[in-house]
């Protein structure tokens, strides 16, 4: 039986996964405190700029290490000057010749890829970087990006619901990327994959929505695609595009092709707060900065509209968590994702809970 509390209050998180913890440019040599899955983590860059993620708590008197500073390869606590290396081992205690043997904190595998800092929240021996969701458009030659990191008072699964049912564009974003036909006449296909789901929506031979008309330069009807690919538990890549109606976009490139790709990291801070990383990437308008900026402005308007929805939903769900809800046809994709997360969590709960092994002995 599916959990009917859409806000998943009190629910655990999938731990065996890479989570987007910060945009690369949010992290420098100053320690950065972040909270992932309820765990307080300090991020910093060591000498070669590679990221380090440690438990954000000095082993001595629990001051957050994010209040401290980086010294070469080490992070130094702001209280009594204890220094920890990237494995979490305390290597220096001022005024004594040797740190206590048990002075160590947990370290988390951390990787920088595609201008994102990723943290593995599960058992470190399973941290396979091949499992990181590729966002190649974040650093691709000839591509522009606009991005956002917003801390949102809403459960992360409400955001995933939104991204796997793009019929909402017709209502939430009608002044930019939405047009009525996206909800009324889209052909929707839901294809489960091994690590997620792909929801493909094709809306054929329809007038372009305002943003599409403006930047696609259409004076004709279009065929429009919205392909959302979700990777369990919390990353998505969405391809949004259009071509001249009937020009073969479903099988080839089509004519007057216009496309942008949106990368999403939907990282739970707690069951009620999410750090949402969103980046729109595109290669059209590369040489037309004023137009690109207007396109970015419209994109940010869209994400602002969504965030208002998430907050309002969460508030309503917290008031009456168990009041019944109805599902509609377009919920097939979102419900698949919810079932998959629930299944992962059930398996995780059944598995023997091992002691966290990445604290240096």
């Amino acid at each position: 039986m599916l959990n009917r509390d859409l806000a998943r209050t009190g629910q655990d998180f999938v731990r065996e996964a890479w989570y987007l913890a910060a945009w690369s440019d949010e992290l420098d040599r100053t320690p950065l405190g972040v909270i992932l899955l309820g765990q307080s983590i300090v991020l910093y860059r060591r000498g070669d700029a590679s990221p380090v993620a440690l438990e954000n708590r000095c082993a001595h008197r629990s001051l957050p290490l994010s209040l401290g500073c980086v010294r070469g390869e080490l992070i130094e606590c702001a209280y009594h000057g204890l220094q920890f290396d990237a494995s979490g081992r305390c290597v220096h205690v001022p005024g004594q010749s040797r740190p206590p043997a048990d002075a160590a904190i947990r370290s988390y595998p951390a990787v920088e890829q595609d201008r994102c800092i990723w943290i593995w929240m599960g058992a470190p021996q399973n941290a396979d970087t091949a499992k990181i969701t590729p966002f190649p458009w974040m650093a691709k030659k000839g591509w522009r990006q606009t991005k956002l990191h917003a801390r949102i008072a809403a459960n992360y699964q409400l955001i995933i619901d939104n991204l796997l049912d793009l019929s909402h564009l017709s209502f939430v974003h009608s002044s930019t990327v939405g047009s009525p036909e996206l909800a009324e006449s889209a052909r929707v296909k839901v294809e489960p994959t091994e690590d997620g789901v792909v929801v493909s929506r094709w809306t054929l031979d329809v007038p372009p929505a305002p943003t599409y008309a403006q930047f696609g330069n259409y004076d004709c009807n279009i065929d429009r695609w919205q392909i959302s690919r979700w990777f369990v538990p919390s990353t998505l890549v969405i391809r949004n595009g259009s071509a001249k109606a009937g020009s073969g976009a479903q099988t080839g490139d089509g004519e007057q092709r216009f496309e942008f790709i949106v990368c999403h990291g939907v990282t739970p801070e707690s069951d009620k707060v999410t750090n949402y990383f969103w980046a729109v990437t595109h290669d059209f308008l590369y040489d037309d900065l004023p137009s690109a900026e207007e396109f970015h402005r419209q994109s940010h308007q869209v994400i602002g509209e969504d965030i208002a929805v998430f907050k309002a939903q969460q508030e309503m769900l917290e008031r009456q968590p168990l009041a019944s809800v109805v599902d509609i046809r377009y919920d097939a994709g979102p419900l698949h994702a919810r079932r998959m997360i629930d299944a992962r969590l059930a398996a995780q709960a059944r598995a023997p809970r091992k002691e966290v092994s990445n604290v240096p002995a």
């Binding site: 909800a183 769900l317 008031r319 809800v325 509609i328």
Partner: protein, 356 residues
Amino acid sequence: MFLRNCWYAAGFSDDFGHALTARTFLGEAVVIYRTEKGAPIALEDRCAHRRLPLSMGRLDGDRVECAYHGLVYDHSGACIKIPGQTSVPQGARVRAYPVLDRHTYLWIWMGNPRLADPALIPDFSAIDTAGERTSRIRLHLRCNYLLTVDNLLDLSHLAYVHATTTGSPALAEEAVVKVVRVGDAVLIKRWQRNIDPSPTFQQFGGFKGRVNLWQVSEYRAPCYIRVSYGSCDADVPVHEDDDIWSHGAWGFKVLHGLIPETERTTHQFRTVTIHPSQASAAAIAEFKRQCDLIINEDREVFAIQQEALDADPRGLSAWDLRSTATIGADQGLIQARRLLRQRLDAETALPAAASA
């Protein structure tokens, strides 16, 4: 715990137009609007699909369209359209609350709609035509509604909380108080004879010497209250059986429509009508200024009381004040609470289907 099968004042009628307005009543999210013809509609303020408040959506004629996926609801709360599919699943509806306009207020029934008899709306007709001498005040109070009820049923507090306006020590020290049960109402009549007028009465009544004052509070469950404040020269005899709603030489009346927002917050809609002798705009403005002062003094008391209750380690609520020290002046409100308790007990004794 709230009485549900009763009409509450949701606001003044003209607070609501052909637009979606979000409110919380009795802890429930409600969206209110008027149809194109002006009929009031109140629906549960959350889409049956993914819980977005419908108040974020838009009106399409007399129908409400959800802002998220465009589900459309009619005025009965039934979902009549889901974009992209031909049928509407069973259970796709939101609750509709009976609402109607009367005596310049919009009234809402939060209980079983089948029991919503318009004849049960309290008689606030006195305010329908009072014109410029009437002012209407909308308040959001940071307290349980019972604390406000208590306040209005024990006006001895005027002597202390409102000492610079309507109060003077004699209102507490020299009052003769009579509590009478009349049908479904509790009347609390207070007289002070041959006293010095309190500042507001001195100013507007133009008295030369000592006066008789009276305050009468009428309570009906759960929270309909009207209060009459009157005065006359001390040598004019007043008797406790006299017309209790008369202003005498000078006075004013207040009708209070209350509706709990949550256990800790309350909406209050009051209509104040002042004695006909006050015709000048300047006098009315000065009287309104004093009303605002009085209201703010009460609000502060309410908020502090509620904070004290919330902070009490025993977890007290406004109901528990019954068991705290009572003073003689509490007789009226004790009877009022007894009346309310009887109504609540009767309602919880109803079969679930009838009280849902």
